[in-house]
């Protein structure tokens, strides 16, 4: 049981792909213009990771070492394509927004990294959990970054939620700051880098406080967030 707990901790916090391993930054930076976009791509990635880890692990003993990478990529690409086609069929407006970034999950290094580093060496259940937790960890970072950028850039939260839940959900959009003129920098690519840097800083600060419970708190600066 302790092993499962470690897997969960690693995925969500200690080895978080978004702010610790810093793998898969391309979609992290490109898609997180709103919270809904970030979370949607995050969930899609988490599904791919759980499914690819779960499919590689049971067959790992039959995959010869020499061809493991082609086989892994084949499995990942097949799963991504299935998710891409299903989203196109059942969540069409969202599919248009996320566009090329869904097929690009194949090239997201975090997926192959977890298959290679974990699923190829561990039983099915822990592998699936590892993929799911790493994916959820990434999805959390994407959603948070998207939320911060959307709030600072547009003054709203959950805009575009109607793309996922249908037109009735439009009323769920929260205009946190009324009559906000927008802060373009947050929406444009530099905002993604700055936002991610702030998230990493907050995470490191929290980690530092946890490990050094001394009064000077490791001398870390309080991030302005």
């Amino acid at each position: 049981m302790a092993a499962y707990q470690t897997i969960v901790e690693n995925g969500l916090w200690k080895q978080n792909p978004g702010v610790v391993q810093l793998l898969g930054l391309c979609p992290t930076l490109a898609v997180t213009t709103t919270m809904v976009n970030g979370l949607s791509l995050g969930i899609a990635t988490a599904l791919v990771m759980a499914a690819s880890n779960a499919s590689v692990s049971p067959v790992r003993k039959w995959i010869p070492k020499e061809i493991r990478n082609p086989v892994f990529i084949l499995i990942i690409a097949a799963i991504v394509t299935v998710i891409d086609l299903s989203m196109n069929a059942f969540l069409h407006p969202l599919h248009i927004v996320l566009g090329i970034f869904i097929p690009l999950i194949v090239t997201n290094c975090i997926v192959l990294a977890r298959v290679e580093a974990f699923a190829a060496k561990n039983p099915t259940l822990p592998s699936a959990l590892d993929g799911l937790m790493m994916g959820i960890g990434l999805a959390g970072v994407l959603a948070l970054l998207g939320g911060v950028r959307e709030l600072v850039g547009k003054g709203t939260l959950f805009s575009g939620i109607d793309l996922v839940l249908g037109p009735e959900a439009k009323s769920l959009v929260i205009h946190v700051i009324p009559d906000y003129n927008g802060f373009l920098l947050a929406i444009l690519p530099p905002g993604a880098f700055i936002g991610l840097a702030c998230l990493i800083a907050v995470r490191n600060w929290a980690e530092l406080r946890k490990t050094t419970p001394s009064p000077q708190a490791g001398g870390a600066l309080k991030p302005a967030l």
């Binding site: 086989v71 084949l74 394509t81 299935v82 086609l85 196109n88 373009l184 929406i187």
Partner: protein
């Protein structure tokens, strides 16, 4: 020794082929299962766009399957073969919906969807795709601003051809300070499309579907 190598290679190959086959079957079945829903949602998305430029009450035919193809280039200056959809009410052509491209946008092409009625008035104009500066030139997008609605119902009788310019160039169209190139491109492309439909009315509004 070579025999074991050969055996090893063969078994590795067989495994790779087996995985490819399983993957192919998996993908093919998903493709077949999602094909119809994907086509349906694409058609629905297109119809929704059409409704924005031409009220649904102005046609009763199957718009998506009633089109003629225009070759690239020509008066419209389009990059590739584009479709012109004909809207009909009780069999009589009432309007055409066509795609036009403004190549002189601030950054890249601006793709427009334009509906022109039989009487030469515009149903409406919508920007389908553009790469204009966010927050500056993107007010041509209906999601950002209502500017594009200033084309609704306009015609050459209401606004003579020479006034189809932004105010800065001596025309009648509003623009926002700091982004003149973008609306200028949209106005030009719409003007060009309207003039094209006027000039080719006889062909485009042909009484019967071929």
């Amino acid at each position: 020794m070579p025999e074991t190598l050969l055996k090893h290679t063969a078994s590795t190959m067989a495994i790779m082929v087996a995985f490819s086959l399983v993957g192919t079957v998996f993908l093919a079945s998903t493709y077949l299962a999602t094909k119809a829903p994907i086509e349906a949602s694409e058609a629905a998305a297109k119809m929704k766009l059409f409704e924005q430029v031409l009220p649904i009450t102005e046609h009763d035919n199957d718009l998506l399957n009633d089109f003629v193809e225009l070759p690239a280039g020509g008066e419209l200056n389009n990059r590739s073969v584009t479709k012109v959809y004909t809207a009909r009410l009780a069999g009589v052509a009432t309007a055409v919906i066509l795609e036009a491209i403004a190549r002189d946008g601030y950054s890249g092409d601006i793709k427009l969807l334009i509906a022109v009625r039989q009487d030469g008035s515009l149903g409406g104009v919508r920007v389908i795709a553009h790469k204009e500066t966010p927050g500056l030139g993107d007010y041509i997008d209906i999601a950002k601003d209502n500017w594009i609605k200033s084309f609704d119902n306009l015609s050459f009788t209401m606004r003579p051809s020479e006034q189809w310019k932004v105010k800065k160039d001596g025309g009648k169209f509003d623009y926002m300070a700091g982004a003149t190139i973008t609306p200028r491109a949209v106005v030009n492309a719409t003007h060009r499309a309207l003039a094209y439909v006027e000039a080719n009315k006889a062909i485009l509004f042909a009484a019967h579907k071929k």
